[in-house]
Symmetry: C2
Subunit: 449 residues, 2 copies
């Protein structure tokens, strides 16, 4: 059962694919989990991957398709006929099938849907396609098990047996009223230990947490994380059960969100992995580099404005790295704390005013500590009191400015429904570079030059 | 059931606590989830929080204790007697109870354990305490349900009924051989639909993924995420079942890892939230600021070495921000990609040599694009061809240096079992500041000055 991807394995499999060694390929893939096979296929170029994919039986092929890297999957789908895609989708859970269809070009979507043999699956997919991708509706699947509150345990078990065929993992049994309103949940445990003739409404728990289909996926993550849920039912405005979201999908959303914020903070503008092509890696990194370059050049313009003075007092130039380093660090720190609080919904009840006030105090505390060290360095190296005063004032201004700016930008972006993570990383560093230098040279100009 | 934390609610509750309005407090907390009550308590200062906590019944009090913010929980525990803590622990799952005990000062641990009334719980906790916190053993709980392969369904249901009392959520039933070796799993679904006299070994699935107790928690996260598991059994070297890890705990680990990497990349050295005190916020941010200051001062030293030349050619100073901005961005981008690949185990099969080669090509592509723009700017603003050549060579050197350095540092740290995330953020930016400036001035010195 344990599988580890090795170079030897990949090269053996590649040889087998080239020489048509069917037995070797079939045996190698036997007993592997679809996620493992997907990982293997991602290591091959497309032509080889397709040969190996051809050895999978129908159900495994569908499962592997769900697990494939998005780029690889797109290549596969492009090479399939509408009928082939439809056959794969018939074997998938409705939410996975919908994700696959969503990635298809417009003109293929309808053809694939019309080729679906399982009518229930087709109607589920058509329904799921109406929800926005990043909402509860976009995350839910149509596979779940329900019982009516007025059924007996015996009857419920019969009904569940029918429904259970389509449901891979039964986490919870949802209890509905006669009007299909979600009124509670029934644990498998309780039904297992109950008498045949007991009515469901004697057994079920009325405590059920649900979300409306329009709730954003970030909130879904927060709810399932906070309340330790493995499945969350989705309802419409009349509390009629529409679908359920399972924890594995939410874990994926969570990971993607964290990755996105992390990459944003590191100046990477697209989802890339270290194993992607050089071209993709370059493209993902170029936008922030250009912003950084622009910031650097604006900084250069600020300095050029004081070039004559710099010729007379070149010592002022030597402190440029200090100003830039501190402004950048303070800005990123402040904005990261806000971005994280927004992402995790832990801003608490403090008002923006209080946040800014706290940030001001933090800036003053840390600014004073750093200034003290900077003054010591300046006096030691240059024996110039006026220079020390200039540096202290400049550093303090930069701390206060960068701290407040870093706090307020993500809050403002969030207010206007723009991803606050945009604030972190090169964007704020760049803005701080320019304004930090401006503050520094203006203070230097008033006091020192 | 829906709960939203509001300022009004907190202030009403605070008034009620002050005036001893028992009915209001009891009613307010009625029907709330322990996670909600924990969130409420985190908004109060300790004295008030303790008054409100006093209104909870024994079981709810234990649940809330598990959910509390670590800082708040420590305050609570410090104010409890060993007997009071033991009473709370008796109601908890073994893994949560172990986490609580682990945070206690050494001298209290034994006293609390000796006060535990539930002997099974006590022995479970003593056992769980032997595992390292960040391993599978440290994550697992002792609450799970097992059946013997030779039992009938009827007998298994009887035995499960006894075991199920302690198990909050039954995800999987583990099937053991006569020697307690884990040989498979049984879904509740299959037992529900089977005849009474059927033997378990006719029903169970032999496909079971398990981990050894010593496996690191990061790997546990990767496995459960990859294979979409909600529970993962933990075994010893003889495959005897020791415990099980549930997805909610893994989600917590995942979130903490992502937070830690994100904070590291943003220069925050301790776990802080925007609602923490000014003092904690300052302390968490100071270490990286000091490193940044050191880097800035080293940069200042580099520049001071060329001060005389700068007096003659102050235009060179104006490009310092460009060099610093680009070196910092490139370094952080490269290291972030590696850090993320290490965290998610997606490094793939490429060797370090190939990674560095790719990084070199990326540096050259993006470096050339940025250099082109920089040359245009330089010629436009300064009409100085030699300056343009100097800038191009400097920028290209910085791109190559920062890209390779950013790639190799996290790989080296990881090899020596140091958290590679240390590489990102201010550390690498700072190193790049110094070396970037050195490259720039050395090239300037050879070509331009």
């Amino acid at each position: 059962m344990k599988f580890e991807l090795t170079k030897e394995f990949i090269s053996d499999l590649s040889d087998a694919a080239a020489s048509g060694n069917n037995t070797f390929i079939s045996n190698s893939l036997l007993d592997l989990h679809p996620a493992d096979i997907a990982e293997i296929l991602d290591e091959f170029d497309f032509e080889e991957a397709k040969i190996i994919y051809g050895y999978l039986d129908e159900e495994m092929a569908s499962d592997v398709l769900t697990e494939l890297d998005e780029d690889t999957r797109e290549e596969f789908l492009a090479s399939f006929s509408a009928k082939e895609i439809a056959e794969s989708l018939d074997n998938m859970d409705s939410d996975d099938a919908t994700d696959v269809i969503q990635d298809l070009p417009e003109h293929r979507k309808e053809r694939v849907i019309s080729e679906l043999e399982d009518e229930e699956q087709a109607s589920d997919i058509v329904d799921l396609l109406t929800y926005e991708e990043n909402t509860a509706g976009g995350l839910m699947a149509k596979e779940f098990i329900t019982v009516n509150e007025n059924w007996t345990v015996e009857h419920a078990i019969l009904e569940m047996r029918k429904q259970a065929e389509d449901v891979e993992q039964v986490y919870t049994i949802y209890v509905l009223s006669d009007k299909n309103v979600l009124i509670g949940t029934l644990s498998l445990k309780s039904i297992l230990f109950a008498e045949d003739k007991t009515l469901i409404n004697m057994l079920y728990s009325g405590e059920v947490r649900s979300v409306k289909a329009s709730v954003e996926s970030e909130e879904v993550v927060a709810i399932m994380d906070k309340y330790d849920l493995v499945a969350l039912p989705v309802v419409n405005d009349e509390d009629v059960l529409l679908g359920r979201i399972t924890i594995d999908d939410v874990v994926d959303v969570m990971r993607e969100e964290a990755e996105k914020d992390y990459q944003m903070a590191s100046g990477i503008s697209e989802k890339v992995e270290s194993s992607d092509s050089v071209w993709m890696l370059s493209r993902a990194r170029l936008p922030w580099l250009l912003i950084g370059l622009l910031g650097g050049l604006l900084g250069a313009q600020v300095i050029t404005g004081f070039e004559e003075k710099l010729g007379q007092f070149p010592v002022v130039a030597s402190f440029i790295p200090v100003i830039l380093a501190m402004g950048g660090n303070v800005g990123v720190q402040s904005s990261a704390i806000i971005v994280q609080a927004l992402a995790q919904n832990t801003l608490g009840l403090e008002t923006t005013g209080i946040k800014l006030l706290k940030e001001l105090v933090v800036a003053i505390i840390n600014g004073l500590i750093c200034s003290l060290l900077l003054v010591a360095y300046t006096l030691l190296m240059h024996q110039d009191i006026m220079l020390a005063v200039t540096m202290t004032l400049s550093l303090m201004s930069v701390f206060v400015y960068a701290g407040l700016f870093g706090t307020i930008v993500p809050l403002v972006l969030n207010k206007y429904k723009i991803d606050p993570a945009l604030a972190t990383g090169p964007f704020i560093t760049t803005a701080n570079d320019v304004f930090g230098l401006l503050l520094y040279f203006l203070i230097g100009w008033s006091l020192y030059f």
